[in-house]
Subunit: 464 residues, 2 copies
Amino acid sequence: MNNLLKDKPQIINIGIADFYRDLKLNHASALHVEWRPPLVNDTELQKKLFLNIDKIKAANKVAITKILAARPTLIGMDLAINVIPKMEKNLILHAGPPVTWERMCGPMKGAVLGALIYEGMAKNIEEAQKLVVSGKIKFAPCHEHCCVGPMAGIISPSMPVFIIENFEHKNKSFATMNEGLGKVLRYGAYDTPVIERLRWMKDVLYPVLKDAIQASGGIDLKSIIAQALHMGDEVHNRNRAGTSLFYRQITPFILQTCKSNQNAIDVLNFINGNDHFFLNLSMAQAKASLDAGKGVKYSSLLVVMARNGTDFGIQLSGTGNTWFVGKALVPDALYFPGFTKADANPDIGDSAITETAGLGGFAMAASPAIVQFVGGKSEDATNFTLKMYEITESENNIYQIPYLNFRGTPTGIDVLKVVEKNILPVINTGVAHKNPGIGQVGAGVLSAPVEPFINAYQEFIKSL
Amino acid sequence: MNNLLKDKPQIINIGIADFYRDLKLNHASALHVEWRPPLVNDTELQKKLFLNIDKIKAANKVAITKILAARPTLIGMDLAINVIPKMEKNLILHAGPPVTWERMCGPMKGAVLGALIYEGMAKNIEEAQKLVVSGKIKFAPCHEHCCVGPMAGIISPSMPVFIIENFEHKNKSFATMNEGLGKVLRYGAYDTPVIERLRWMKDVLYPVLKDAIQASGGIDLKSIIAQALHMGDEVHNRNRAGTSLFYRQITPFILQTCKSNQNAIDVLNFINGNDHFFLNLSMAQAKASLDAGKGVKYSSLLVVMARNGTDFGIQLSGTGNTWFVGKALVPDALYFPGFTKADANPDIGDSAITETAGLGGFAMAASPAIVQFVGGKSEDATNFTLKMYEITESENNIYQIPYLNFRGTPTGIDVLKVVEKNILPVINTGVAHKNPGIGQVGAGVLSAPVEPFINAYQEFIKSL
């Protein structure tokens, strides 16, 4: 004891980093351990968790093995009404967890109204609004129909969709074609050029791509994404490489099958003009992979993370179709000139499915150039990825990060780790204006909100 | 003095790193300074250099400013005989500094013989050999005709070439189209499929690309390369992104101008099947940029680094058309299965023009995935780039490295810095089999040899 007081102290600082910074400023030798109190502190729950931990671990192994083994392949295209399970003529699918018309955010409302005009169910916005209020239109989450949609994520019956089949488990997923940037339906814009573009996409882009995909015999999305990660994409907010590789692969088949030279040129210029074209395919491959990991009893892994612009919702493999929700946050983003956080809608879109599958924010270390779009320095990108290893079950077997010596991306978010370590998933995202009809106002990296994870943690343990 | 002996020593280790490693192994606190004796130690030369250093510094500023300001643009295609300055019917251009037939290495001899068959000047190898020995064929370096060629770098009169114009300084450069991997002329292969491929390239690929390039109004190579560096290329040994971006840009113009659908499909499949297709364009843009920096009196910057498989040669801006040469080394490479260093030809090709322009080995930090092709770990790639800042005049104004927070690539090799710091340029390279007709046997990162730099340093100072 005497010695303890006489000798120089050896300092380990746990938790609050400010104390450590002070020590360093005063030239004291100290070690810092990053630690935060868990999000939930409930002895009863912890006891129950402890008693069940072996079967949870075993279940998580089963779920992640299925997710990693998936082989999502683009096999074709069709109209939503023809192929999406339980799609109906008066049903509109949207991003995120379930939400009523009344609680929908501005951009989602705008996109719904635009979709009704596109469908020919309304001649103008006033008619579309009346139709919605009449109660004749039903709404459901994309996720409940094997679909995913970026931002508002609206899928209406006569929209063309990509068909992705997971060859390993035979499940399918679906996604619309990406419209490009600027004023587009998914950001809530609905004026005439937006509707006209959607009609051109149905009349020209869709048949050309449909024929080409059929002639290709199927396009292996996992291979494209693996290469894109070696080429600076994280395939959520940066898709330049994915789009380039898809373009290279599909073009010869377009030339083979398209009878109109002008249509082929228009289609190729459209894809070439939009580096985000691959995003919807990246999302659909993530959905097809994660759906394979659904329904594994006792598994605490996330299979869905999605936002509707009002709520942020997650689903776990082990808790079936239950949504655990919380308020969607407004992102601290890099705003486009002329816009601020005050203009921003809370976080929106199914695109967080990429993070749920070990891509996007989780793969940012593969994409240092993205910081020019979302803000920060290149080492921030690396640090985001490194942190996500703390809350994931596994390292991806196919998706690698060259800069981390080809380490697999952190994959399979475990709600137990999120709560215990108090580390929330990071999500790369575009930011929509809160009013319909305006479009994108920024992009950034944001942290998921705590509530859905606390809710999921509690309900998961109670269900054991 | 007494205190000096009583106190713990503070150690700074300069030079030999082994001493430092021993100190660290014995837990001594020490600082290591990387230092090596200069390559040349000549007091007379150093005095003269000292007296002229201000005008050298000023000249180097002029040279690098010109090099960085270049705007190399792909403006068209034609046959070599029609456009390359002083091209002649019986002239064969080759990579590297001048070399006689007798001193040519195996792969270069093979490529020359193949070119004579391709030209219809010989029916077979025996005839071609007789023709060369007869003395009727003249040889000259590509570099002396505003050209660059990868590996053997053979350009014969009726080969189609890309025409690159530097819009800023109005000089032009030329390069053939890349043939792909495997058995190809540039690696010294000359059998029937090689010659047939070259004929197809002239009869189909060339006219299709020529028309498309013309319709495009010119393709900005600097913009493609700047993007490719953000996408994991260093545009010497990794050109997947550059090839993809070129493909995306040229395809709509191919569709616009090509009357045969089958030819368009074949051309696109050919480009799509060869991720090195962009290499020759990357080299030609480097040549067009560096030629703009030639002939600046008193400038010690390199404007050429090139190898013919026998000799390694460099040219300085301030010493006109003089070649400074030394023996080309056999690379320590990552050899393909079944091959070893014993099979390898010494270093060959004009492709080191990319390093001379701040790309290739100098931009490896942008290309961590390349270590799978050339060996090493991703941090090695970063370290190569960091070291090259030591011997270069400037950081590139356009070509950036995202992982180094968008720092410009090290550009403008200064022979004075190379000699004084004893740090040699690193070069990413493919390795040819030493016998003609076999092809590539590996790839690696190698250091330039010392002799050309010592020679250039001495002659440069004497010329002041």
